[in-house]
C-alpha cells in the first residue's frame, strides 16, 4: 500500500530530517510511529500528502510514485488520504457540517450525498447534535472528533493522524484512539504519529520507532512504546 524506498529528506540548513528510510505498510494496517521530537515522524507523513518531496528516494502510494504526480494532481492525491492534525486544522469560518461537507464537495459529491453522509459521519464521531456549531464553540476533544469526521467522510483508504491526541486530555485521547481503531477495523489503513506511550501500548499493533531521521525499531506485531 505504502512504500518508502531509501528516503532521505534534507531541510534548509543541512538538517537531515530523514536518513535512508525503508518502510512498507500493508493495506489495512494500524501503524504507530513513535520517537522523540525531531526524529522525523511528521516528515514521514508529510511526504505522503506531497506537502514536501524527498531529497532522494521514492515514495509509492497505492502503486503511484509520488514524484511522478503533477502539481495539478496533488489535490486528487490528497483526496485519497484523510489527515488528522494535532492542531485540528479546522476551517474557523465554517460550522461543523460545512467543515465536513467541504471535504466531500472538493471530491465532487452531489448535494444529496452531502445531505445524507455528513450527518451520519458526525453522528459516528458523537457530534450529531453539534452540526451547526463553529470550531470556536467546541472543546478540544470535539474539535479533534470533527477533524476525524472530515478525514473519514470521503472514505479514504489511508488515514494519517499526526499527534491526534497532542492537545487532548486522557479521556478525549482514548475516545479519539477508539475512533481510529474503529476506522481501521473497517479496513482503512491508519498511520498514527504520537508521543503518547499509553495510547501506543493500548493499541498493541505495529510500532515503528524513529530516532534522528532513522528507523531504529520496527515491531510488526504487538508493538510497545520503547525508547
Amino acid at each position: 500500500m505504502i512504500h518508502y524506498k531509501d528516503i532521505s529528506t534534507m531541510y534548509a540548513g543541512d538538517f537531515m530530517a530523514l536518513d535512508g528510510i525503508n518502510l512498507d505498510i500493508k493495506d489495512g494496517e494500524f501503524v504507530s510511529i513513535v520517537g522523540p521530537a525531531g526524529a522525523g515522524k511528521s516528515t514521514l507523513l508529510r511526504l505522503l500528502t506531497r506537502e514536501i518531496s524527498p531529497s532522494s528516494g521514492q515514495v509509492v502510494v497505492d502503486g503511484v510514485d509520488l514524484a511522478a504526480v503533477e502539481s495539478d494532481s496533488i489535490p486528487l492525491l490528497r483526496r485519497k488520504i484523510g489527515t488528522v492534525f494535532q492542531d485540528f486544522k479546522l476551517l474557523a469560518t465554517k460550522n461543523a457540517f460545512e467543515n465536513v461537507s467541504f471535504a466531500l464537495e472538493v471530491c465532487g459529491a452531489s448535494d444529496d450525498e452531502i445531505q445524507n453522509d455528513v450527518p451520519k459521519v458526525l453522528g459516528i464521531v458523537g457530534l450529531g447534535d453539534k452540526t451547526q456549531n463553529f470550531p470556536h464553540q467546541m472543546s478540544g476533544g470535539e474539535k479533534q472528533r470533527l477533524a476525524i469526521a472530515r478525514a473519514l467522510i470521503h472514505r479514504p483508504r489511508i488515514i494519517l493522524a499526526d499527534e491526534p491526541t497532542g492537545n487532548l486530555d486522557l479521556v478525549n485521547s482514548y475516545d479519539v484512539l477508539k475512533l481510529l481503531m474503529k476506522i481501521n477495523e473497517l479496513g482503512t489503513t491508519v498511520i498514527m504519529v504520537t508521543h503518547n506511550r499509553d495510547l501506543v501500548n493500548a493499541v498493541g499493533r505495529r510500532v515503528v520507532t524513529m530516532e534522528k531521521g532513522k528507523i531504529v525499531r520496527d515491531q510488526v506485531e504487538q508493538g510497545k512504546y520503547i525508547i
Binding site: 500528502t49 506537502e51 489535490p75 486528487l76 492525491l77 490528497r78 483526496r79 489527515t83 486544522k89 479546522l90 476551517l91 474557523a92 469560518t93 467541504f102 471535504a103 464537495e105 472538493v106 471530491c107 465532487g108 452531489s110 448535494d111 472530515r150
Partner: protein, 303 residues
C-alpha cells in the same frame, strides 16, 4: 455538475462575506473611498473639460475687410476658408449687421447712439469670424489669409492683437488636459493599490483556512473562486454605497459650482449619464475586487 459547483462557490463567497462581517465592513469601506475618488476624478475631468471648451469657445480670429470689398469677394474668401480642414466654421458679418450689433450692444449709451445718428455713412467694416477646431490652428489660418488672393481687400486680421491671449488659452487648456490626465492616472493607480492591499490583508487573515483547504484536497480553482466572489461582493456593495453618497453630494455642490461657472450643470451631467456612471462604478468596483483577490490569493495557493 458545473452549475452545482458554480452555485457552491457563489454561496461560499457570500457566506464568507457575511461571516467575516467586520473585515468585510472595513474592506468595503476602503473600496467606497476609492470609488468616491474615482467619481471625484470623473467630476473633475468633466469640470476641467468644460472649462477648456468654454475657454476655447471664447477664442476666434476675425478678418476685417476694407470698405470697397464686395460681398461676393468676401464670400469667396469665406469659401476658401471653409475648404480648410482646420476650420470649424466661418461666420460672415456684413457692415449692416455689424452696425446693428453695435447699436444693440450700446443701446443704453445715448452718446454713442447720438454720434451714430450724425454719421452719413456706416463706419464699420464687414468681417469674417473664423473658428478653428483647435486653438493652436489660428496661426495657420492667419497665415493662410495673409497669402490669400484677396489679401489686398483685407484691412486687418485681429489674430496678431489676440495672439498672446490665444497662446495663453492654449497653454492653459493643454495644461488642464495633461494635468488632468496625469492626476487621473496617479489617483487611479493609488486607488487600485489601496484596494489591492486592503484585500490582500483580508485574504492574508484567512491564510490558514486556505492552507487547510489545500491539505484537505481542494483544487486551486475551488479554493480561489469563493474569494473572487467575495471580492466581487466588496465591489458591488462599495459601488452602491459610493453612488448613494456621491449623488446627494453632487446635488448639493452643483449650485455652488454654477456660481463660479454659470454654464456648468454638474448634477445635470451626472443624472444625464446615470446609467453609464452606475455601470462604470460597478464595473470598477467588481473589477478591482476580483482582480485584487485573484492576485492576493495566488501567493497562498503554493502549499
Amino acid at each position: 455538475m458545473f452549475k452545482q459547483k458554480l452555485t457552491r462557490v457563489f454561496w461560499a463567497g457570500w457566506t464568507n462575506f457575511k461571516r467575516n462581517s467586520y473585515v468585510s465592513f472595513g474592506t468595503t469601506g476602503v473600496m467606497v473611498l476609492v470609488l468616491l475618488l474615482f467619481l471625484s476624478i470623473i467630476a473633475l475631468s468633466f469640470l476641467s473639460s468644460t472649462v477648456v471648451t468654454s475657454l476655447q469657445d471664447k477664442v476666434d480670429v476675425s478678418a476685417y475687410f476694407k470698405q470697397q470689398a464686395s460681398e461676393e469677394e468676401i464670400n469667396q474668401v469665406k469659401g476658401d476658408l471653409e475648404s480648410l480642414a482646420v476650420v470649424q466654421y466661418v461666420e460672415y458679418i456684413s457692415r449692416d449687421k455689424a452696425l446693428e450689433d453695435f447699436k444693440q450692444r450700446h443701446a443704453g449709451d445715448a452718446l454713442i447712439q447720438e454720434s451714430l445718428a450724425q454719421l452719413d455713412e456706416n463706419p464699420l467694416q464687414a468681417s469674417l469670424n473664423i473658428k478653428a477646431k483647435e486653438s493652436s490652428q489660428y496661426a495657420a489660418i492667419a497665415s493662410f489669409l495673409e497669402g490669400n488672393r484677396f489679401r489686398t481687400l483685407i484691412d486687418k486680421i485681429n489674430f496678431y492683437e489676440n495672439e498672446q491671449v490665444i497662446h495663453r488659452v492654449e497653454g492653459i487648456t493643454t495644461g488642464l488636459r495633461n494635468g488632468g490626465l496625469a492626476a487621473t492616472l496617479v489617483l487611479a493607480v493609488i486607488a487600485a493599490l489601496v484596494t489591492f492591499n486592503t484585500i490582500r490583508l483580508t485574504i492574508y487573515s484567512q491564510k490558514q483556512e486556505i492552507e487547510i483547504m489545500r491539505l484537505v484536497g481542494g483544487s486551486n480553482w475551488y479554493i480561489k473562486a469563493p474569494y473572487l466572489i467575495e471580492g466581487a461582493f466588496y465591489g458591488i456593495f462599495a459601488g452602491v454605497v459610493a453612488l448613494l453618497v456621491f449623488y446627494p453630494v453632487a446635488f448639493a455642490v452643483s449650485p455652488k459650482v454654477a456660481v463660479v461657472m454659470p454654464s456648468v450643470d454638474m448634477f445635470g451631467y451626472f443624472t444625464g449619464s446615470i446609467i453609464q456612471i452606475i455601470l462604470l462604478i460597478m464595473a470598477a468596483g467588481v473589477g478591482l475586487g476580483v482582480i485584487s483577490s485573484f492576485i492576493a490569493i495566488r501567493r497562498f495557493l503554493k502549499i
